[in-house]
Symmetry: D2
Subunit: 342 residues, 4 copies
Amino acid sequence: MTYSIAILGASGYTGAELIRLLAQHPDMTITALGAHAKAGQTIAEVFPHLRHLDLPTLVKIDEIDFSRIDLCFCALPHKTSQAVISGLPDTLKIVDLSADFRLRDPDAYTAWYGNEHTATTLQKEAVYGLTEFYREQIRAARLVAGTGCNAATGQYMLRPLIAAGVIDLDEIILDLKCAVSGAGRSLKENLLHAELSEGYHAYALGGTHRHLGEFDQEFSAFAGRPVQIQFTPHLIPANRGILATGYVKGAADAVHAALTAAYSTEPFIEVLPLGEAPSTRHIRGSNFCHIGVVADRIPGRTLVVGALDNLTKGSSGQALQNANLMLNLEETTGLMAPPLFP
Amino acid sequence: MTYSIAILGASGYTGAELIRLLAQHPDMTITALGAHAKAGQTIAEVFPHLRHLDLPTLVKIDEIDFSRIDLCFCALPHKTSQAVISGLPDTLKIVDLSADFRLRDPDAYTAWYGNEHTATTLQKEAVYGLTEFYREQIRAARLVAGTGCNAATGQYMLRPLIAAGVIDLDEIILDLKCAVSGAGRSLKENLLHAELSEGYHAYALGGTHRHLGEFDQEFSAFAGRPVQIQFTPHLIPANRGILATGYVKGAADAVHAALTAAYSTEPFIEVLPLGEAPSTRHIRGSNFCHIGVVADRIPGRTLVVGALDNLTKGSSGQALQNANLMLNLEETTGLMAPPLFP
Amino acid sequence: MTYSIAILGASGYTGAELIRLLAQHPDMTITALGAHAKAGQTIAEVFPHLRHLDLPTLVKIDEIDFSRIDLCFCALPHKTSQAVISGLPDTLKIVDLSADFRLRDPDAYTAWYGNEHTATTLQKEAVYGLTEFYREQIRAARLVAGTGCNAATGQYMLRPLIAAGVIDLDEIILDLKCAVSGAGRSLKENLLHAELSEGYHAYALGGTHRHLGEFDQEFSAFAGRPVQIQFTPHLIPANRGILATGYVKGAADAVHAALTAAYSTEPFIEVLPLGEAPSTRHIRGSNFCHIGVVADRIPGRTLVVGALDNLTKGSSGQALQNANLMLNLEETTGLMAPPLFP
Amino acid sequence: MTYSIAILGASGYTGAELIRLLAQHPDMTITALGAHAKAGQTIAEVFPHLRHLDLPTLVKIDEIDFSRIDLCFCALPHKTSQAVISGLPDTLKIVDLSADFRLRDPDAYTAWYGNEHTATTLQKEAVYGLTEFYREQIRAARLVAGTGCNAATGQYMLRPLIAAGVIDLDEIILDLKCAVSGAGRSLKENLLHAELSEGYHAYALGGTHRHLGEFDQEFSAFAGRPVQIQFTPHLIPANRGILATGYVKGAADAVHAALTAAYSTEPFIEVLPLGEAPSTRHIRGSNFCHIGVVADRIPGRTLVVGALDNLTKGSSGQALQNANLMLNLEETTGLMAPPLFP
């Protein structure tokens, strides 16, 4: 049998990436595509690269008959997402790609996002969607909150180190370089090709990026004590990819051993041999995450470098991986395509 | 059952692209990877983006036991290719991606490539690999010659127009813009990022590009009279993609009708509505080819614009499409993945 | 003595380019910077790359005291430009970079731009700013209309050929590739780095690009008969540069001789040796234009390739070259900086 | 009067950048261009972007009559540079852009570069070319050693903080992102556009980059005790620019005050208002360096971000700034051109 799938917010980059992945999925069929401004358009108009696919025309969300839907992906902006999901049937399986259900504490949500949360019951119900660490909860969940793409990258690099107790929790720095699709399809001067292609910069400096809310929540809960990292994202003139360079205090071999052990059976996470570091060119368009460990010349200091595709493993690929679990399908279905290189 | 596949010249871009496509193919398994300088290396060393795959180590070509192989892809440089293929079992099915067997006339080969052809019997046997136009011959062939990537693009745009007699055969101009992976992995100053990324240029001007040999052969044979087009390739600061702008004399609606009719049942070739033109961003990483037709303001003149991915539909995807036919598999198997956007 | 200069529309790319050039000019001082939405901001806020310069704060245009100004550059959008210039003192020297005064015929203006021209007296007065061909008129002019960047490129390539009578006037094709700064600082999805950097396409196909109005006007007036060329612009993933490939019917040596003769004493136009073609990487950020000529393999057909920087020689550099003439300064002052490579 | 200048190693990127800058210098004339493999070629052949300049043909270094030369720039590879300079007249003023004379200690040189130093007397004589900090010594010097481009960036950010005693010397991390021209014109696979443009990565991880030799020497000498920083360079898909993110322990306002005080009269170094951070798009092609300071959310931790153009302020612009001093010219001559944006 084939599951019937709806995608809300189908006209953004994460929506396009979901359609790309689902088009090859043997057990899922896209039945409805919901949009706002672009409702009424065909997929060939919105995304000419998908014109060969036989897909429904985009419609307003309230025109969708959700009784026919087995699982719904929400790729809407935060704030919109909580309002829309509140109005969906409470038995519908949902994978939300927005930020609305990532933080469990309503106050933390307000602190990072500025607005009050208006769906706190759903917020309590939601399971955090970092598949490798919440696998069993996700399998049983009705509502899964996809993680931030930067938050996913940093957690893949650091969670096993916190778990293994091999690093100093008060001295963690994450210097992250994100390709521009991570900023979405929003129209801003500094996202124009003319300005970005020969210009890169740090942004949200000093601990103001919203994904820090996820790091704080997850690392503190996991460590059983408050953990605050330093995190600086940079915008890089490339389309896809996140490369994060982590500076930790701990022994490189212990760090490498902890990562190797944590991911030895994971299908998507590759720990490189000690001393090697990854590149975004080797994960593009795929659900894989590469992690490398290198000892610094200063004893007791170690570099951890992680790379993944922000739109795939950092967002839509992760969402599909979670959906597979929620529908009792093989977790890797539709996600094993190798990266595109060059 | 699964067919056993060898790839010779596995360490170039077309080799990598073949592995990427075959990794998802349900009926083919890569049994041997042949290389020259990189023999002895693992796939993770040569192509870190493929490190998650369980693939054989690269070996010298003469170490491969071809009796175990059902079909062999040759992604070697021209001249090397004819020498190597001459030494392979004469019952082995082969898809050659080099230029060695594209031209049927040994003199034409020497005129365009400079060297004598040393395997003229094989040259006679080879079938030209433009799938949509040689489908039945390819199905029956033992040795198929993959086309040039530029040659494929231009032929998809122009063959149906010659067939339908809707354009002036003496007034065809093809202004083509190719992304840099079309130049292969060769180390040249003008392929360095620092020089290319903010610099583009025409090359092989005035009718000196080798793919003109294919245009001359195919268009003349097809038209039953000599046809020579003007062809200017340009190198563009992008990784993948060919966009070709064709200037023809003929009525736009007749041109559009001829293309629409020719490709109405083709799975990979999309003719856009009259008046629309394609972009390389909509075919990247896929086996699809988009073609658009626009009338010029000068009556009787028409623009035809084609776009495909030089490494996929222009090379390795085409090779797999042909291999599927040669092994009596469904032609589209392993080739329906949508383009990567953005 | 130093001339006092105003720039209106200082916050766009051509405005920034004017400031960059004027900052090094020994005989001009920027006295006023006019803007609309960004009035009130300092130059460091609008253009951080100019923060080291001692420049006036941006003001509304009606706050500028034009009696102190010797020459005014208008880098406003068309339609706005004619309204603003109509309100300026009629003795003020003006170089307009918009499209408003390029076309001498009001009907042609309306046909290409859609709106009625509301300053037809000024339109009559304006001199077309293609310096090398209108030098004496520009020297005497009060109001000079800067050319379109594509229009400049094509005219540099083709005017001498029309003058010399060495090509067929009914068979001219100009296939042009423009970098993205040519589209200005406007916020459109297809100008986003994520969409453009790995995607290029033709636009305004079939003879609908507005710069054709200039080609028609200039070539026809010059030839003494109607001349209509075919012109297809393409948007390329680079920041600066125009590369235009011209297809003409005529002998290559006559074409080359005509260009060489026309530009032998020009300081900014370099005709390459016969058989060589230019690249945008060799003119970036400069006021130079490179032109090459190559014979096609088909007798009687010739390729002409031109390259210039759309923001410099195609726009702001040209404007300064004209301003130098209007102020009786050495024409090349402030414009001889070599291109930036790489 | 005009000084007569020679450039050795004229065919690399730093050589091209020197010629670009000198072409506009009122007091220097290029009299000789020395090269190795490209000797005998004209500048138009080696660098078509400089074809409009009246420059001597490239010659072998031993064909140059150095008695006519007032100052010589050496843009040769390290090791070659010390051999060549040893053979030059010992009264000739020299600015060396290689790594050969940056480290004062022969053992440190061997440790970082692998080979013995064969010109240790010259090594003792050489003055380290970080202009703002060695101005008086450079004015009096005969031989000046240009700094590494990364080393310059980091020192501009950190030296005033060490001097002011406002940061913890044992806890300095410098995460640096360098554009690809920093790797020179060398032909390597990972510098190809096809591989780099959508792929970025860290290299020389763990404290193995040679510019660390400079950091160690300078910071330790300056602090009067051993100082070792952590330094990770990354290769970014852009042509020009270095952006370095420094993580220090110290109060942001004290850090900002120290930088502001140190550079208040410097013509090329701009300290941004506290809380702002620079971008490479705002320094491209110029001799300016922008530095920003932002407080981290964790009390006592501060971010320092620096940006400069690796080929200009990081290399050839710095070299010219030093040459101006050595010839008793105004230090800023020929170096005040604003950045190129976009």
